[in-house]
């Protein structure tokens, strides 16, 4: 197995086409999509950059949080009265309409907090793909990061020459 090095090229955000073309050419040079990563200061859809669809479990995590919130609300509404039953004449033991309010609020709280936790968890979870950063990205540049076998580097560099990218030295992420 040959050694790989992480490389990064930058384009101003006005040169979006060149960035997309770079990704295309890297693929032609045999670099797998998993070894390519794009970093940018504004969001671009996968379609614009010609990248495979990204996925996230945030929706699922949010849904799971909503279920937990619903379960807590149900136990507060219908479980706690059993712990110390106080029966009041003419009043139902489990009043449904008033319980709906608590159920709604806690379900939404569960959904929203877990969505945020989802972002947090996915952020700190180790991810595949090359790591690297350049502060120029937040100043309006698009960075294409890729891991490339060292013996292929010259060939790749030559292949991207006409796109006039800015090569970043030592792109390893240091924030």
């Amino acid at each position: 197995m040959s050694a790989k090095s992480v490389q990064m090229v930058l384009y101003p955000d006005t040169h979006l086409d060149q960035a997309a073309e770079t990704i295309h050419r890297l693929r032609q040079h045999g670099i797998d999509d998993r070894d390519i990563s794009v970093i940018s200061g504004v969001p671009y859809s996968d379609k614009i950059l010609g990248r495979p669809m990204s996925w996230t479990r945030i929706g699922l995590i949010g849904l799971a949080g909503a279920v937990v919130g619903f379960a807590i609300a149900t136990s507060l509404n219908f479980g706690t009265p059993y712990l110390y039953p106080i029966r009041v004449g003419g009043q139902p033991f489990f009043p449904i309409p008033t319980s709906i309010v608590v159920t709604f609020e806690l379900t939404m709280l569960g959904l929203l907090i877990s969505t945020f936790l989802g972002v947090f968890i996915e952020t700190i979870t180790p991810s595949y793909g090359p790591k690297g950063y350049s502060p120029k990205v937040s100043d309006g540049h698009i960075g294409v990061l890729f891991s490339c076998p060292t013996e292929k580097m010259d060939e790749v560099k030559k292949g991207l020459e006409d796109l006039k990218p800015e090569w970043v030295k030592n792109p390893e992420a240091k924030l």
Binding site: S40, P43, S54, L76, N77, Y84, L112, F116, P135, S138
Partner: protein, 480 residues
């Protein structure tokens, strides 16, 4: 010669058209990202002597008017306030409803306009979201202040006491607690999520303690596809989910009143009536804040343009009309109901010694916006908009004052009638929360990028003009 003249004038008018469009719309006047970042950072890092004086004054206001008087109230007892039988819900609850109403604007402006893809929202969503968070922080103090024996506040938290008695979840006061907690947490997160890329920008452009704080808060943001994808997904979930939460909060606040048998409160339309009022006062407060930001902070004239005041002016006008509709609906049906106590109350509001409050409400909420905001020129004059929206908020405060102490003083039995006069403690604490709101906002304006630069740039990239017939029209691309 004639043909030449025509061509020249056509060229001139086309370039003029382009210039007008640039001046008018931020989305058509792009600057390089680096320059926009620099402008936002400069606004954040510039602090004049005036700023520090204002910060000190409002900080002192918080210390003395809010915590000083509140501390005295805790030590001395509720007798230092003007609350007396029969008016036990007075200025504190009035101000509580007012702040919760103000807090609706952030969600309304940010979430609803985001869902409907209203492009003019882009430069000021964060200013509005900050208002929500700080408005809630100020409002959430009032149930505690109103409680008197504040050390027992934890009885509302759902856990059993020594006798295994749980809080009564059927009580609207527990609903209030849950709704406000949910809204405060979710709106704070909703403020934070779109802030992450801007915090990363600030991290890249700062040093020292600022860098350390931004680095921590930016969660190692680099702007990868995966990060953007999950951020967008989370923002979308929040934008859709926070809207019903927003509606629920003020509906529940209205139920604090409507579920009782109190004359003037027991109404089926109190929920939507309160929500419309909240949005009216909230959007008006956004205009006030934007005027202050635009006129006091560096570089903000580029981001906050007349189009923003124009669009928000239209919204204020629409919500003023909606508020008038709900008010009239509520008034007419109460009056037609023929219940003597209700009629007496309505007569008292309009003709009693405090009728000036009722008329202030109608003049500020209806007459002033209707007479002014139809006019484009007025909507595009920031100072005029500031004055009008301040008056709308005065009107909305008067509305809450009419609904709460002025209604409670005039109930079914004449022997139980009474008037409420706020005392120094009531007034100071209320002013203290205004100081708290301004103090927090002043601090945040120097710590948080008030303009969501990435959203502005995204909008500018999506906007272009294309020729249609003989004119140029705006075209917005779908980048998501």
């Amino acid at each position: 010669m004639a043909a030449e003249t025509k061509t020249l004038s056509a060229t001139h008018s086309a370039s003029q058209e382009g210039e007008d469009l640039r001046q008018e719309h931020l989305m058509h006047d792009p600057k390089p990202r680096e320059e926009m970042n620099g402008m936002v950072m400069e606004a954040m890092q510039t602090t004049s002597k005036k700023y520090w004086i204002a910060l000190a004054i409002f900080g002192l206001g918080v210390l003395i008017l809010l915590f000083g008087f509140w501390g005295n109230q805790i030590i001395t007892g509720m007798g230092v306030t003007g609350k007396r039988r029969p008016v036990f819900w007075a200025l504190y609850i009035t101000t509580f409803v007012f702040w919760i109403g103000i807090s609706h604007a952030g969600t309304f402006v940010s979430a609803i306009l985001r869902v409907f893809k209203a492009e003019f929202r882009r430069p000021f969503t964060r200013a509005a979201e900050l208002m929500t968070t700080f408005g809630l922080a100020a409002g959430a103090l009032f149930p505690l202040i109103h409680l008197g024996r504040v050390w027992t506040f934890y009885w509302m938290i759902p856990y059993p006491n020594a006798r295994w008695l749980w809080p009564n979840f059927r009580s609207p006061l527990v609903w209030d607690f849950l709704a406000i907690t949910t809204y405060l947490l979710s709106s704070t997160i909703y403020l934070y999520l779109p802030l992450i890329p801007d915090l990363a920008m600030a991290r890249d452009r700062s040093t020292g303690w600022r860098h350390s704080i931004y680095k921590l808060l930016a969660l190692n943001w680099r702007g990868t596809e995966a990060e953007w994808h999950r951020l967008r997904k989370a923002i979308n979930i929040f934008a859709f989910a926070i809207i019903p939460v927003m509606f629920s909060v003020h509906t529940i606040v209205s139920w604090d009143f409507a579920v009782s048998q109190t004359v003037g409160w027991h109404s089926t339309i109190f929920g939507p009536y309160f929500i419309i009022g909240a949005i009216l006062s909230g959007v008006s407060a956004v205009v006030m804040i934007l005027f202050i930001i635009q006129s006091t902070m560096k570089n903000m004239k580029y981001f906050i343009r007349l189009e923003v005041f124009d669009s928000l002016g239209k919204l204020v006008l629409i919500f003023s009309m909606a508020w008038a509709y709900f008010f009239f609906n509520e008034y007419l049906l109460h009056w037609y109901g023929g219940y003597q106590a209700v009629r007496d109350l309505l007569t008292f509001h309009a003709q009693g010694p405090t009728a000036w409050v009722w008329y202030t409400m109608l003049i500020c909420n209806v007459a002033i916006p209707w007479l002014t905001l139809w006019n484009r020129k007025i909507r595009r004059t920031p100072l005029a908009m500031f004055i009008i929206t301040t008056l709308v908020n005065v009107g909305m405060f008067a509305e809450r004052y009419t609904i709460i102490p002025l209604t409670l003083g005039e109930q079914r039995f004449p022997f139980d009638w009474g008037a409420y006069s706020p005392r120094l403690t009531d007034i100071s604490i209320v002013i203290g929360t205004f100081c708290l709101f301004i103090f927090l906002y002043l601090l945040a304006s120097r710590l948080i990028p008030l303009i969501p630069v990435w959203e502005v740039q995204e909008g500018q990239m999506a906007h272009s003009t294309r020729k249609l017939g003989k004119g140029k029209v705006t075209s917005v691309a779908e980048l998501e």
